[in-house]
C-alpha cells in the first residue's frame, strides 16, 4: 500500500500496487467508513420505509450488474435479463417449498442459502442457453434473441408450467419462517437489508475481480473489437458464453434475494419492462463501470422516491400530482436517459471520476 494519502496522479511502482483494492491509506479509511455507514449507521437511523427503498436499490444493483457485465464489458446487448432473475426467484422458491431438505439443514437454516447458490447456477445455465445465438449474431439481432428469453421463460414456461407446480395457481407464497439463514428468520426490512448488503458486496467484489483478470480483459477485448480479439487468440464464443453465464448467475442471486423481500412471487414480478429499466440504469450510471451500476441504481430508485416525497406536500394544493406521479417518473426516466446520452454519455460514473480527480488535485486542480 502506498504511503501517500492523497496522490495527485498514478505513481504505482509495481503490478501489486496497480491492482491493489485499497491503493492508499486514505482510500482504505474511506472504505472502512463506508462499511461503518452501511452496516451500523444506516440500520440505526433508517426506518422501515427507508430500508425498503435501500432493499430495492440492492435488488436493482444485483439485476443491473449482469446487464452491465454483458453490455458494458462484453458488448453483448441484452433485453431479457428479467427472465434470468425470474429463473433464480422460482428456483429458490421451489427448492424451499418443494425440496425434501434433510432436517439438519432445515434446523441449521441452510435451505435458503443453498437455494440461492443453486438458483444462481440454474439461472446462469439458462442464460447460456439464450446466449448461444451470440455465436452467430450480434447487435440488434442479439437484442431479439435475448428478448425471446423473456417470452419463452416467463410468459410460456414459468406461467404455463412452473407456476402450476403444487397446484397453487399463479402466485407462490412462502409461509412465515421458511426464509431463514442460520438462526435468523428473515422477516423484517432490517434483516432483508443485511442479506442485500452481503449479496451486493459479494457480487460486486466477485465481478470486479473477474474484470481485472484474464477473463475480464478478454471480455473487454471482445467488446472493443471481436475480430481483433479472435485474431489475438481469444476464444470469442467461449468468453461470450461465460459472460452470459456470469450475468445469469448474478441475475439468479437477484431473483433469490427478491423472494426474501416479499415472501411471494408471481410471473407479474418479472415483466419485460424490468429488463429495459435495468438497461436504463446502466446508461445513466455509466456503461462499462461497476460503480456506475451502483450510482445508476441509487439514482433510479432513491432520487425518484425523494422526488415523490417532495411532491407529497404539493398535493394538498394540486391533488392529482400524487396520482400522476408515476407518469412524471416515467417521463423523468426517459428524459434522464436522453439528457445523459446527449450531455454525459459516460454516465454518473464519469462525473464521480471527475469529482474524485478534483479533490485529489485540490487546491491546484487546473
Amino acid at each position: 500500500m502506498s504511503t501517500t494519502w492523497l496522490p495527485c496522479g498514478t505513481y504505482h511502482q509495481n503490478y501489486v500496487h496497480d491492482h491493489a483494492w485499497w491503493q492508499t491509506k486514505f482510500i482504505k479509511a474511506k472504505m472502512i467508513l463506508l462499511l461503518i455507514i452501511l452496516f451500523v449507521i444506516i440500520p440505526l437511523v433508517a426506518d422501515s420505509y427507508g430500508l425498503s427503498i435501500l432493499n430495492l436499490v440492492g435488488y436493482t444493483i444485483l439485476g443491473a450488474i449482469g446487464v452491465q457485465l454483458l453490455i458494458g464489458f462484453c458488448g453483448q446487448i441484452t433485453l431479457g435479463h428479467a427472465a434470468f432473475i425470474a429463473v433464480g426467484a422460482y428456483t429458490s422458491t421451489l427448492l424451499i417449498l418443494e425440496f425434501p431438505w434433510p432436517k439438519i439443514l432445515m434446523d441449521w437454516g441452510l435451505a435458503y442459502p443453498i437455494s440461492i447458490l443453486i438458483a444462481a447456477i440454474v439461472s446462469g445455465a439458462w442464460s447460456v442457453l439464450f446466449g448461444l445465438p451470440c455465436a452467430r449474431v450480434k447487435g440488434f439481432y442479439l437484442i431479439l434473441t435475448t428478448m425471446a428469453a423473456q417470452f419463452i421463460t416467463v410468459d410460456f414456461i414459468i406461467t404455463g408450467y412452473v407456476s402450476q407446480i403444487g397446484g397453487r395457481g399463479q402466485a407462490f407464497s412462502l409461509p412465515p419462517g421458511t426464509i431463514k439463514i442460520g438462526p435468523w428468520v428473515i422477516d423484517s426490512d432490517l434483516k432483508v437489508y443485511f442479506v442485500m448488503l452481503v449479496l451486493v458486496i459479494v457480487c460486486v467484489i466477485g465481478v470486479l475481480n473477474l474484470i481485472r483478470s484474464r477473463v475480464g480483459r478478454a471480455w473487454i477485448a471482445i467488446r472493443d473489437n471481436d475480430i481483433s480479439a479472435e485474431v489475438m487468440g481469444i476464444n470469442v464464443i467461449k468468453y461470450k458464453l461465460l459472460a452470459f453465464y456470469v450475468a445469469g448467475f448474478i441475475g439468479g442471486v437477484a431473483g433469490a434475494f427478491w423472494i426474501s423481500n416479499l415472501a411471494a412471487i408471481s410471473p407479474e414480478h418479472f415483466p419485460w419492462f424490468w429488463s429495459l429499466w435495468l438497461v436504463g440504469v446502466i446508461l445513466i450510471g455509466g456503461v462499462g463501470s461497476i460503480h456506475g451500476t451502483i450510482f445508476g441504481s441509487v439514482f433510479m430508485v432513491v432520487v425518484m422516491e425523494m422526488l415523490q416525497l417532495a411532491v407529497i406536500p404539493l398535493a394538498d394544493i394540486y391533488p392529482k400530482l400524487l396520482v400522476d406521479f408515476l407518469f412524471i417518473k416515467e417521463a423523468v426516466f426517459g428524459l434522464a436517459i436522453c439528457v445523459f446520452m446527449i450531455f454525459e454519455p459516460n454516465g454518473l460514473a464519469y462525473r464521480w471520476w471527475q469529482m474524485k480527480n478534483y479533490f485529489n488535485l485540490w487546491p491546484f486542480s487546473y
Binding site: 420505509y49 427503498i53 395457481g169 399463479q170 402466485a171 416479499l262 417532495a310 407529497i312 391533488p319 396520482v323
Partner: protein, 415 residues
Amino acid sequence: MFGKNMCSKIFVVIFTVALFVGFSSMAGAAKINVGALNDMTGATSDVGKDYALGIAEAIHYVNDNGGVNGKEIKLYQFDYGYRVPEALTKYKLFKRLKCVAVLGWGTGDTEALSPTITKDKIPYVSASYSAHLTDPKKTPYNLFFATDYSTNARAAITAWFDKKWPKHKDFGKRKPRLVCSYMFASPYSSAPIKAIKDQATLLGFDIGPDQSVSLFAIDTKSQVLAMKDFKPDLVWHGNTVMSVAATVRDAYALGLGADHIANNWGFDENLPKLAGEAAEGVMGASVCAFFGENVPMMDKVVEYAKKYNPGIPLEKRSVHTVQGWGDVLILWEALKRADKAGGLSGENILKNGFETMKNFDIGLGAAPVNFTATDHRVAGIVPIYEVKDGKFQIVEKVDLKSRWPKKWADEWLGW
C-alpha cells in the same frame, strides 16, 4: 453561466423546502390517513382509471359527511402502474405515513403483499376480488365489498347453463363445451380458473384447452381459431375490457358460434362500445349497479363525479367508479365502528369494524355485506346480466349458497 448556476441553486432550494415540508407534514397527523394504490398507466388502466376516480370522489363524499366520527380522511392516492416492486415501496410509504388502511388494486400485488399486511395488521381493501383473499385463516386483513371472482364465475356459468343451454339445438344430445380465455401470466385473470373448472365439471361440461390472451391484446385471431377446433358453446373471458372486447370481436368475425361470459372487470359500459354488435348476448356478473342506474346512493356517485371531475363526460364513466365507491363505503363504515369501539388499530378495524358487518347495506345495487371471523365472502347471491341492444339486462340472480349449501360452507372458501 451565472444564470445557469442561479437556476440550479433555486431548484435545490425549492427541492429542499418541499422535502422539509413533506417530512413535517408526515409528522403532524391530525387526520386519519388512508393510502390508495391505483393503476392508471399500466396493464389494467383501461378499467383502473375509472376506479381511481371513484375512490377519490367517494373520499370527498365521506369527508363532506362527517368523516370518521368527525375526523377527516386524508387520502394518499398513487398510481403504481400495475408493477409489483412499485406497489411494495408505496405500501411501505403508506406505513411511514401512518395510514390506518389501504385501498389496493390488482390481484398480483394484493396477493404478494398479503403476507406482509397480515404481519403488519393493516386492513387492505382491494379491487382484487380474488377468492384466495377470502379465507381469514390465511389472509385475515384482505377485504372487499364484492362477491369474489370464483363466486361470480360459478354463478355466470350456472346462469348460462340454466337459461341458455336448454334452448340450444344440441341440448340433451351431448354435454355443453367450455373454453377459458385469459392471460395465463396474470394472477388476476387466472385466479378463478380452478373454481370455473370445478363448477363446469359439477354441471357436466366438457372443458377445452385454455387460450392465453394478453391483457394488452388487440388481435386474438390465432386464439379464436384454436378455440374453433374444440367447437365451444361457451367461452369464459378473464381479462379486462379492452382485451375481452378484442376477443369477442374476433370470435364474431371468425364465426366461433359460442356464447360468452366475462369476469366483472371485462364486463362494463365500454364493452358494447368497443365490440359493437359482437357484444350482444355477452353475459357476466356485476358486483354492483352500472353507472347512473336507479339504485340507492347512485345520485351521490353521479353528483360527485360531476362536481370533482367535470371535465369527464358522464357517458364516459362506468361501473368501475361505482366499485370504487363500494370499497370506500365499507372501509368508512368499518372505521366508524372501530373508532367508536376503542380506536383505529388494524386489529380493531378488523374485529370491531369489518367483522361486525351483518347484512350491511351500502346501496349502489350491491349485495348486503357480511364478514365473519371465519369467512370473508360477502354474499352468495350474484346477479348475472346480459348485453341486449347495447344495454345491460338482468338474466338471473344465482344463489350459490342456497343451491349448494354444503359445498359453499365446507369446500369453496379460499379458492
